[in-house]
Symmetry: C2
Subunit: 442 residues, 2 copies
């Protein structure tokens, strides 16, 4: 870190986020200087295609298509790595640190995949990595979990960490339109990528949850080990039934300490209406952290988008320039593989919670008795039931037998029992097709 | 700041908050050491009365009734000042800094009153003051405004900053009971002091808003200059009418940049139901910050109470021990009187907003025309009216004429116009008593 009254930075990747960061650094140099106590100077901005319009006037000599121009320039103190993807992002980060530069990045996929390696290497080299923008965009959850709430043992952390999914689910819920149509709208509005797979299948939320679990619980979590499901293929019928039961469906990422073990999951979840989490709309993100001293703290803001994400990146650049990040980074040993893990992941079958089941059943007497019988065998008790016996809801199953939807909400049960019960129920003659199953909160 | 692997601290004032801080430091030394990279050692705890039970086992020799024992001990690095009040708190803080100690405090009254002097003296002496717990208790709003959102020009900041008031208003709203009865309940539950005047009359919220305005807008604000009213004497009738119009009443503190000037106010405000701010219940606090890059960020948590407040104090102690606070404190020049103010307070008459009026009027034709006529003269247009003509609502005024309540919600108008209109309306023959007036948000 340069101790002069100027910190020179370079941006690698001038896409959505990079252009926003450049705008803040160039248009608001007075502001960043006031908060950093020194000038933050944008020396270079690296792109692949020099001819693409960037929507911002860069001073002559700043734009380049050569990463080496940055890595070989000893006057550059901080590399703001915003190129996305795993490779060459990983190699560029390693080379930059070897060249003596600190890193600010928004690349959650890279951290979720190679965090251990990158953070260990940074420590060996005496460098720091800041990554506020990697989780929940504009909500400063990294700083809040690792610094502001540092007096607490965090007991649980749950959040809506993917804005694209939340936009889709909220739209479906409010407008009553189907999944495919809503995805198209999200793409038109720029909320969803051309290929939104990682957003809607829970991958992105799981990667962010893995990062937060490192910070909040000192747990080393591979995001692939987090049981996850997405909102892809969510049936509007479930939004309707959930609504009648007093809930909304949200793609919720959850981490919870239970007897010293860490329960992790990502999936569509019924969240009780009127709670702050249920009322998170559009592309907003939200996180509820419970600490043993502070109790619950709830954060709500824009989890993505050019300027909210740039806000987080530039806060990191300021913290780096002013010298706070190196202290935090050295003290907390983020993602350290040398430290004993403070919590291990709990066996999925042991997770406990309430469940929502929806299934199609033969519309004749004895059906409900058969199903509740299976639940009883697995020691699962029922809190509410919605059964449609009106003909308007009748379908014919393959065998020509009329079927109707049946919705069951349970009291607390283990994930293991719920799974076995679902298997058994799906095997019953009176049940048509698969059982839709979601956890319930609040 | 000691650079050894141990930071010695002393608590002055072992009341509600002090005892909570001692508990975190003593029972969770491993946790604070992990986050600070060194041991945080409670050397002394000062009280007036050595015989009062403190609900915590302190090691022998820690409890003392001598402040000098702390001030004269060169091994103590940080003084945690939790004794409340202005004097001798101010003198103790000054002496502690002169003795080379950094300060952590939760005393908002002291900072609102003497912040300029104390912060200037700290800078002269090369010392730091941390004060996360002074505003919004467990919600880390000080760190969020001054560090996490540092890439932004903050455009507005509004919040429920007094938990006692919020508890009282929420209870009155939900249970339909009167003000005096609710205050008694709040006292029984420990949410309100024996003398809750500063909480319910808006003083406490105004002091916190003044502190936040320094940080967010670089404005030097005397809390006495903030136009303020409290919830003392709030009439349940207004909660009822607000509810029918789709609003709740909250004691809202607001700071908003408008044409480079700062609009400040504290008072009961109609907040639209369904917005996160309207749904803040019980003794919770909440703050909504809008930044020009990040957009709106909303924070919700416990604004007071032993452990939430201790959470904020101990986070400050950790930041101090690890070395982040001195950097922040030196860079940001909090409350500096040398720096040009970045925003001046706007003339109250220029504030603009929508208003709620409630009055009692003679129940006869022409009344509404007279009142709307006055509003029109002041260029105030009406968005909704509730008028009760049923006899059940009739009262007799002093002259024996039957009166009924009239509620008017306006479109946007200036505070100056609203004041003049109210004066004129109160002078009308058809109007009985004073007009209740509150601003409307959302
Ligand atoms: N967008 C958001 O709201 C958001 C929110 C949070 C986090 N993030 C993360 O932030 C990162 C950047 O996202 P983004 O949306 O800004 O991505 P983007 O719009 O796709 O921009 C990527 C940029 O990287 C440049 N680039 C890619 N490969 C390069 C290479 N080999 N050499 C030089 N430049 C290269 C591209 O150059 P060309 O323009 O010349 O092709 C482009 O400017 C990602 O890790 C993303 O996950 C994004
Ligand atoms: N309570 C909250 O939830 C909360 C939240 C945010 C901020 N705060 C702020 O935190 C500060 C402390 O609040 P609190 O509720 O903990 O107050 P408290 O319960 O009244 O405790 C005050 C303590 O200070 C001691 N003390 C007072 N004068 C003293 C003197 N001259 N010498 C030595 N000790 C002295 C008292 O000693 P004895 O016990 O021997 O009388 C007592 O232990 C206040 O500034 C308050 O505004 C409180």
């Amino acid at each position: 870190m340069s101790t002069s009254n100027r910190t020179n930075v370079a941006i690698i990747g001038m896409g959505t986020v990079g252009a926003g960061v450049a705008r803040l650094l160039i248009d608001h140099g007075d502001r960043t200087a006031r908060h950093a106590g020194k000038t933050i100077w944008l020396s270079k901005a690296v792109v692949r295609d020099l001819n693409k319009p960037r929507g911002i006037d860069l001073p002559a000599g700043v734009l380049t298509d050569s990463i080496d121009e940055v890595l070989d320039d000893p006057s550059i103190d901080v590399v703001i790595q915003l190129m996305g993807g795993l490779s060459p992002a990983r190699e560029v980060m390693l080379r930059a640190m070897e060249a003596g530069k600190d890193i600010v990045t928004a690349n959650k996929a890279l951290l979720a995949e190679h965090g251990g390696e990158l953070f260990t290497r940074a420590r060996q080299l005496g460098r720091s990595i800041a990554f506020e923008a990697a989780v929940a965009g504009g909500i400063p959850i990294i700083a809040n979990v690792s610094q502001c709430l540092s007096a607490n043992q965090i007991l649980s952390l749950e959040g809506i960490l993917n804005g694209t999914s939340n936009f889709i689910v909220s739209q479906m819920d409010e407008k009553g339109v189907g999944y495919d149509e809503t995805v198209k709208l999200a793409q038109q509005l720029g909320y969803a990528e051309a290929d939104p797979a990682m957003d809607v299948d829970g991958t992105d939320a799981a990667q962010k949850l893995a990062i937060l679990s490192h910070l909040a619980f000192g747990a080393t979590v591979d995001w692939r080990d987090i049981p996850r499901s997405g909102i892809d293929g969510l049936d509007p019928a479930d939004l309707g039934f959930a609504g009648r039961l007093g809930y909304r469906i949200k793609l919720l990422a959850t981490a919870r300490l239970e007897d010293g073990e860490l329960e992790l999951s990502v999936g569509p979840t019924l969240v009780r209406k009127g709670t702050p989490m249920a009322e998170v709309r559009d592309a907003y993100n939200a996180i509820r952290v419970v600490g043993d001293a502070v109790g619950p703290v709830f954060y709500h803001g824009l989890g993505a988008g050019q300027m909210p994400t740039a806000s987080a990146v530039v806060a990191d650049v300021i913290d780096m320039a002013v010298g706070r990040t190196p202290i935090t980074f050295q003290t907390l040993e983020y993602f350290s593989e040398d430290r004993p893990a403070r919590a291990v992941q709990r066996d999925v079958a042991k997770l406990r919670g309430r469940y929502y089941f929806r299934l199609r059943v033969a519309n004749h007497p004895g059906t409900l008795a058969a199903i509740t019988g299976v639940l009883a065998q697995h020691a699962i008790s029922i809190s509410s039931v919605i059964q449609h016996e009106d003909v308007a809801c009748e379908n014919q199953n393959d065998g020509g037998i009329p079927t109707v939807p049946l919705v069951i909400m349970t009291h607390e049960a283990s994930e293991g029992a719920a799974r076995l019960a679902v298997e058994a129920i799906e095997g019953l003659d009176v049940v048509d097709g698969d059982v839709v199953r979601m956890p319930v909160r609040g």
